[in-house]
Symmetry: D2
Subunit: 471 residues, 4 copies
């Protein structure tokens, strides 16, 4: 496709009205068209017909083949970047005088044209959701392509600005919620899979269940993150106490005292790295405290996704426990061990101690725990309350953590102090019970657990995509 043909098309378009644009242009090849239109959007034309151009770019983008998609990202990476000459001139001028106006000129020179591109793209109705999906596609590109990293940096920065917590809306999800949203809850739940609509209803509808999600006004029907809560008499030790099917629906807890956050899932892959979980938990705590003044305790029931992987490295455990205790671990090699409670005594002792050690002493190179879910809740200011033996006896629970689960507790009066301790020197605040467990472990020099770790997130406490799925 040559430029003048597109030019002509666009002229025709302009003469015949916005509504005709899509049809006329659809005859051209999306792979070329999307780049041509992107150029047009950045030109003066973008001012008069920006909405139509943006719409068409997004329509083209949606049908691009993988190669064309990648070519489009490369175009963004290579063509829409600051002009090196101008940057150099501005940098030199700044070094000369370091004045206000030189700084302003330098800021303008380094500002990525991609910001303006995405802002103009967002002119089209419904564009925000499509731009989020564009970032999802970008994140799925092979990491090797370093130039694309700069595109992601720009895009993420913009999304961070748009998805500022001040723009998010908390909504309760229940049986009155439109099906279009509910089916996404089923799809996005990543901790304890929802087994269809009946299971969903058991989690949303009963009097002692709650679900809350953050939404953004520009993303209709698309939850960003959601949390499932059970209102109970005491903190549960096992997920089955929360999810069992036969719960007497007829007998609601009259004055629940504990709110249990038993599942938190991020929904938008394209918003990866933009943290909502901290705000969600805290606002839900506020909402629940207002609605049910009987609630006094706010805890999670959380998985330990990396525990078994860590334990696998035999030497770690070996050096930590007395040999006698260590021997109990062989039971884990016995299929079906979890169903023979009469053999558990020693294993339970060994595993819970090791888990306490894993949380408190095992650190990644950034000085914080290796477990992503722990990093998330501890970073939010929660404390590690309890390690639950056979908290999750599902296949996944056994595979990931030999069935262990933990409760993290959000105590309003401690949150800031805990957070500071954790942020400043990686101190993991734990309950007395967990502390006792740690004492039973032989002290070994903390050694960074590099191999297991995902690259340390650049910023602050980030939640994993879901509690269970953090690597």
């Amino acid at each position: 496709m040559n430029v003048s043909f597109l030019q002509e098309l666009l002229n025709t378009v302009a003469e015949q009205g916005r509504q005709l644009l899509p049809r006329v242009l659809r005859s051209s090849d999306p792979a070329d068209g999307v780049v041509e239109l992107a150029r047009a959007l950045m030109s003066g034309r973008g001012e008069a017909s920006g909405v139509a151009l943006a719409r068409q770019i997004l329509d083209y983008y949606r049908v691009l083949e993988p190669d064309a998609r990648r070519a489009f990202f490369r175009f963004l990476a290579e063509d829409l970047q600051p002009d090196p000459t101008q940057v150099a001139v501005a940098a030199e001028a700044y070094l000369q005088s370091k004045g206000e106006s030189e700084l302003a000129r330098l800021q303008a020179a380094v500002d990525s044209p991609r910001h303006e591109f995405f802002r103009r793209l967002n002119l089209a109705p419904g564009a925000t959701a499509e731009i989020v999906n564009m970032r999802r596609d970008l994140l799925r590109q092979p990491q090797s392509d370093a130039a694309l990293g700069a595109v992601d940096t720009d895009l993420m920065k913009l999304l961070q600005s748009w998805f500022n917590r001040g723009f998010l809306v908390l909504r309760r999800i229940d049986w009155q919620t439109p099906a279009a949203i509910l089916e996404k809850i089923i799809a996005y739940e990543a901790v304890h899979e929802i087994q269809g609509w009946d299971d969903l209803r058991r989690r949303l509808d009963p009097d002692d269940r709650r679900c809350f999600a953050f939404f953004h006004p520009a993303l209709i029907d698309e939850p960003l993150i959601f949390v499932e809560v059970a209102l109970m008499r005491e903190p549960p030790q096992a997920i089955s106490a929360v999810l069992q099917e036969e719960r007497k629906a007829g007998a609601p807890v009259p004055d629940p005292v504990v709110a249990v956050f038993y599942s938190i899932s991020n929904c938008q892959e394209g918003l990866k790295g933009i943290s909502f979980g901290n705000f969600l938990i805290k606002q839900v705590v506020e909402e629940l405290a207002k609605e049910k003044p009987s609630l006094k305790t706010f805890v999670t029931l959380s998985p330990i996704p990396h525990f078994a992987r860590w334990l696998d490295r035999a030497e770690a455990a070996a050096r930590t426990l007395p040999e006698s205790e260590h021997d109990a671990l062989v039971l884990l090699d016995d299929p079906g061990w979890q169903e023979r409670p009469e053999e558990h005594q020693e294993l339970k002792k060994a595993l819970t101690k090791l888990a306490a050690h894993y949380f408190v002493n095992v650190k990644s190179p950034d000085g914080r725990p290796v477990d992503p879910v722990a990093r998330f809740h501890l970073g939010n200011g929660a404390r590690l309350e309890r390690i639950n033996w056979l908290g999750d006896a599902s296949e996944k629970g056994l595979r990931e953590a030999h069935g262990l689960m933990v409760n993290y507790r959000y105590e309003i009066s401690e949150i800031e102090r805990n957070h500071e301790a954790f942020a400043n020197d990686g101190t993991v605040v734990v309950s007395r019970a967990v502390r006792a467990l740690v004492k039973g472990v032989r002290a070994v020099p903390a050694e960074p657990e590099q191999a297991l770790l995902p690259p340390p997130p650049s910023g602050n406490a980030q939640e994993p995509a879901a509690e269970s799925d953090a690597a």
Copy 2:
């Protein structure tokens, strides 16, 4: 107030829960407190208690005395700016290698900490509206203070990102609209003042009247910009045809063919320079065309706010018109001339010619017309359709434009072409009738009309605060 006292307070606060923060801190002096808290918000503390800190900063800010407010802005200007050393280092590194990662580091170094500050401030519920008002206060500071300009640049950039057209919602304003919004329409109308609720109702409720506004989801009850429309049989020559009180309300126009945009007002001083009017007009055209297929013509009935001021400079007119015609202008010095139609013939001829000349030939140094309303509509791609003799005989209409008004016409098939012509070389597209008027004017070398002009806006076509109030 010394820091350690605040420190202590905040520790107490953290131990007693967010809800106590405001009361405890209220005892301190807002003028100091606001700055201390701003520092805290930018520190690690901001991560755990950001929402509470942000809320308190805004509460303090609201009650600041003018001096304290200015001190706060100075703090933002001086303390929250990029670190010059780091900028210098990054600039030098960039000049050495001009690589991807050097560019990234330079971008990070020049990025203003104020962006992060305002983003964190926006954590508090309802903060967005207060940040917009903060910018309004900032714009009202004396211009002399150059350092504050950088604060405004940062803030405006952020607001531009947040108030991206993709996030705006078009809503019809009518008699079903909550009173809380309607009273703002009364307050913000800046072109033809609304004389109370009865007048408002006459503009919103009848079958042949429309009003539309853009809203942002984070600014409840706050229109950003609105336009008032009359559906008519033909383009009106005078505003009285639109606003007269005695209109037979009982007789709606059955199949209106002309939609008249007779008033456009911006509402938020704090969003000055962020342009919504272009998008608003175009989306309203679309909405109306869908709702009433009989509508074929979309025109404005607009004021010419600077015409009389321009004409005052005698020499301009003198050189333009033949002396005989020019003499007719003396009638303007006669109070009440507008009510003596029998004397109008010569004056009308002279004034309309001069107005045509004023629009087409008189340019500011940036090569575009001096009239702000003309700049706005022509920049949007409208054409100058008609000059209306005694279009507005109100005191204001006579004072600003000797009673003249104009129709700008939005012809969908021409919008892009007109816009390009105007943007590229300042060409003012006019109807044949206006062209004929211009021909009657003696050609004089176009001369920049500097004295009259507001400083040329940096970006694209910007609408005035209201059509009538652009200086």
Copy 3:
């Protein structure tokens, strides 16, 4: 118009679809047409085209001249009544055997065809509001026309069924309410006139003001009844304490203990005799108690609309008070007496005693107080709490009750007992203070106060159209 012409028209109509009906039939004369169409609606045709016929009848009805309207009501009265022969046959059959099926047949025979007529009329969208207005017109017909009474009986019975309390919706009215509803609040307020939108806002918007209304889902934008409430520290003695303009809006009552119902107005003349006030007050008490647990006392501040008229009949007062006290009343003939507090002492004593007597001892032939507002609140189970000297010094307040007002108190634990006492033997429950006043009055044999009374309402406690306007 002859029938066959209409017949033909309707046939044409049926062939061309509902949407054409209005235009075609509009050419006929509404006065004849409305009756012809009413007959058609009651025939088999009504089943297939009921919606269109009903719509057209209502459209015709709206433009009927007074005479034609009356003729239409006469048609309903005379043509749409039970067939006397069938009633006679069914009555005789019943008298013979008094069986189930004879009763059923008699019930069917006496059932008024007007019920079916109005039910079919209600098929048209929006018809309910128009039927309510039809009853308003009917009530305005001269009373002499006895035959129309039966039409009203039928219509009222139907409306009573449709406007059953179970279908009403309580909505708070505030500054977020659409203007279309607010302007009706202004129009319908009948106790203390609302002086435009500013006054309205003072009653709705402040933190310590509430307004609630009942709505029916089929009457969009039309409140049925509303009550205005002030939240205060103590029961007010004068309406000026509630309505004064200069109230410090900035200083809301932090923990109000008294909710004052200072105005209740019915809105729909066409629903006269269908009582909503009792339900409204009780539900608002519940709502407020839930919203503000600090509220402990619920009182009205009410007018005494008939007191001055009663007192005018000199002999009543003469026989009641000692002569010395009675003489104080001459001050009332002195214009401006209310502004000379130094002269009030004796008058105050005399008037409040007389008012207490008026409430407690003066009865109409049905054994209940003569004052309509008193009948309403006492019938609801309230007690008479206090008589307020110069509670309303407005021209109206002076004219109706020499400035007196009263507080009725709704004490939840007494409501049923008070109601029973009042309903069974007309006992007026009063506070100790009022009882003391009554003791100061010479006992005279209670004598029915016939001349003053409106015809006794047939049913239970009915509120007046508004508290102030009950005759």
Copy 4:
């Protein structure tokens, strides 16, 4: 339970406030309590505490055992009926003079106290739905109990008044509808069973599918009746064309010309006999015609629920067809015949002729067709358009109608004429094609088909509970 105990309880209650009533009274036995409270509701007490009493009656009612429930209905039947003495007196007075006021008195005397009872019961929030369910329970009582018939008559009359079409709201049901309503659509669909949420979504969500329901404002989340519609290029001959799973969801019909009503289901057993279907279909036709102007034809695809039962009676068919054709019917005894198209030719000819005859000539004693679905659509003014061979090859379709289905067509210009013809003399309006089929059938004297029929409904065209489930 003796009365004075309840009396005491209620007094206590009255003194302690409404909110205590439920707990206090719960100690008594519901079976006795419900009757005592019903008496109280009808007494003066009902005026002061009606809402609380009504709530308690409904709470008791819900937990009644079958026997107690029946006893409650008997109480309504026996204790809440007109006073025979008063009726007799009024009847005699009427027979004497037949005047206005005698008629009024007679109407009052025969008016069933049950009307007032149910109206007062409806005072409680949410009562309407419970009263509808009360009627469902009543309809399930053994028919033998004749006295209960009068209760049903009263209740149905009241519900007919409350559920007047003017109060119903049409709402589109789609994938944005709350799950609480959607699960009811699944439950209530009675024509073509919905196989879970995926199937539901296929019927609601695609661009060429619609579903509409009537709701009543007092019955939250409870559809009264709904219709499912497919937008197609031509009228379908078989239900599989509408419901097949593999429909290409991606390819919506661009300009559909036919709207197919393929399923209509009533939802509330307690509203049996109150007809909504006629209004629903006609309003949906209007809505669709407005939304999609390309739609020209409105047809159903309907079952013939009684055809096979009618045909079973051998002699009917025997006398109608020539012997040669009749013989083809033996194939029906062959399991799996429907899957052998090569053998269908004769059978198809015979069955479609018989079906045409069944619709046009076979009448019940009231002179209308025996098939309930036919009675419904023909009574609405539709015409019988086409008989579809193997329109429904499901087990149910084969069992009920040997796989036949029909299209009824709603032609706006014919509706009233068709309805009149059908209502006046049972004329079944058919298309030319069906007429041709009928001609091929030997004329036999129409003979009432009594045995098959449900008791003829008292009123007008009533739809079956669902199209498929009419007996």
